[in-house]
C-alpha cells in the first residue's frame, strides 16, 4: 500500500486559516489501511481543526466525506455537489488523491493533510515498513524475493557492503541488512549459486530517471 502520516496540526491550521467552509476528504484505500486518512482519521482531524478554530474565536463548517478511492476520476465526481459550498478542500489521501481533486476542481484550493511516505507493508499492527520503490524493472526474482533497491540503504545490486554487521545495517542498528536477508533466504532455498551471479548495472530509465512515468494499456485505453 501507499503509506502516509498526518502532517503536524500547525501546518494544517496554517493552510485553512483564511477558509471557513472546508471539505475534508478521506480515502478508503491505502491511507485507511495505514490509519492516516480513512473515515476515522477524517473525523478526528475535523474535530481537531474545529477545536483549534474555536480557540481563535470562530467555528468552521467542515463537511466530511470519505471516497472509495481518490485516485480515480469516477469517485472524485462524488465531490461535485459539495464543491460550490466550500472555500477549500483538504485531502487526507496520498499525493495522487490531492492532485486528482486539484485537476478536477480548478477554482477551489486543495491542501494535503498527510505526508505521503512510501510503498510498504505492515510489519505488525501499527508498524509499516518500506518494501518497494517502484523502480520499474523488478529484481525480486534474482534476490530471493527481498528488494535491495527498497531495503538496502545504498540500493546495492551486489551486496552486502562493509557496513553490514551481525545482519544489521550501519545506518540503524534496528534495520536489517537487506543483503544479509537475501543471502539467508537464498541459502535456505538452496540457491546459493544465484548469489554468485553479478547483477549488472541497473537501467534507471524505467524508474524516475526517465521522468514521470505512464502506463498505457491499449486494449483498455479509450
Amino acid at each position: 500500500m501507499i503509506t502516509a502520516e498526518r502532517k503536524p496540526m500547525e501546518e494544517l491550521t496554517e493552510y485553512v486559516k483564511n477558509h471557513d467552509r472546508i471539505l475534508l476528504v478521506g480515502c478508503n484505500e491505502c491511507v485507511t489501511v495505514c490509519a492516516a486518512g480513512g473515515r476515522k482519521e477524517v473525523a478526528l482531524l475535523a474535530s481537531a481543526l474545529q477545536m483549534d478554530a474555536m480557540q481563535k474565536g470562530k467555528t468552521l463548517d467542515i463537511t466530511e466525506i470519505t471516497l472509495e478511492r481518490q485516485c480515480d476520476p469516477e469517485y472524485i465526481e462524488e465531490l461535485t455537489p459539495h464543491i460550490d459550498q466550500v472555500d477549500a478542500v483538504m485531502s487526507m489521501a496520498c499525493g495522487c488523491g490531492v492532485q486528482e481533486i486539484a485537476r478536477r476542481f480548478k477554482n477551489t484550493p486543495v491542501f494535503p493533510a498527510v505526508n505521503t511516505k512510501f510503498m510498504g507493508a505492515s510489519e505488525r499492527q501499527g508498524v509499516w515498513a518500506e518494501r518497494c520503490q517502484g523502480c520499474g524493472s523488478c529484481l525480486l526474482g534474482l534476490t530471493g524475493g527481498i528488494c535491495p533497491i527498497a531495503r538496502c540503504a545504498k540500493r546495492l545490486l551486489n551486496g552486502p557492503c562493509g557496513g553490514s554487521s551481525n545482519g544489521k545495517c550501519e545506518i540503524n542498528p534496528d534495520l536489517d541488512c537487506a543483503w544479509q536477508l537475501i543471502w539467508d533466504r537464498l541459502k535456505a532455498l538452496g540457491m546459493e549459486k544465484q548469489y554468485e551471479e553479478i547483477i549488472p548495472a541497473k537501467n534507471w530509465v524505467s524508474g524516475r530517471g526517465g521522468g514521470p512515468r505512464k502506463i498505457i494499456r491499449e486494449d483498455l485505453a479509450e
Partner: protein
C-alpha cells in the same frame, strides 16, 4: 474563573470502573458531581473520536477508566485504549488543549474507594488547569 466548576466525562468500563462507582455509592463515599459517567461495555470500546467529541462539546477533562492490567473482560481492551489515550493526548497538545486534561485510570470492580479518590483528584487537577480553552473565547459550553 473563581466559580469555575469543570465538566468531566468519565468513560467507565461496565466490568470494573462502573461497578466501582456503584460500590462507591453503596459505601456512601462522596465524589464530585462534576464527573459525568458514560458506561461502556469495555474501556477498549472508547474510540479516539469519542474523546475528541467530548472536548469539542465542552468537557474540561476526560478520563477513561478500565480494568487493571491483565484483568480485561475482553482480554486487552484496556491496554489498547491506554495507547489510544496517549495518542490523543499528543493530538490535544498539538491543538493547544493541554493533553493533561485526558487521563487513563485502571481499577477493579471492588475499588470503590479508589474510584472516589481518583474522581476527586482528577476534578481538582482539571479545576487547577482551568476551563477547556475552546470555550473561553466563544463560550460554547456555557450555552
Amino acid at each position: 474563573m473563581e466559580n469555575f466548576e469543570p465538566v468531566i466525562v468519565a468513560f467507565c468500563c461496565h466490568y470494573c470502573a462502573y461497578t466501582a462507582a456503584d460500590m462507591a455509592g453503596s459505601k456512601r463515599l462522596s465524589y464530585p458531581p462534576n464527573v459525568k459517567i458514560v458506561r461502556v461495555p469495555c474501556s477498549g470500546k472508547v474510540d479516539a473520536i469519542h474523546i475528541m467529541k467530548a472536548f469539542e462539546k465542552g468537557a474540561d477533562g476526560v478520563y477513561v477508566a478500565g480494568c487493571l492490567e491483565g484483568d480485561c473482560h475482553f482480554k486487552n481492551g484496556n491496554m489498547k485504549v491506554s495507547r489510544r489515550v496517549n495518542y490523543i493526548k499528543k493530538l490535544l497538545d498539538e491543538i493547544g488543549i493541554n493533553g493533561d486534561r485526558l487521563e487513563m485510570v485502571m481499577m477493579s470492580a471492588g475499588m470503590g474507594d479508589y474510584f472516589a479518590k481518583k474522581a476527586t483528584e482528577i476534578t481538582d487537577k482539571i479545576r487547577s488547569l482551568g476551563p477547556n480553552p475552546t470555550k473561553t473565547v466563544l463560550g460554547f459550553a456555557q450555552k
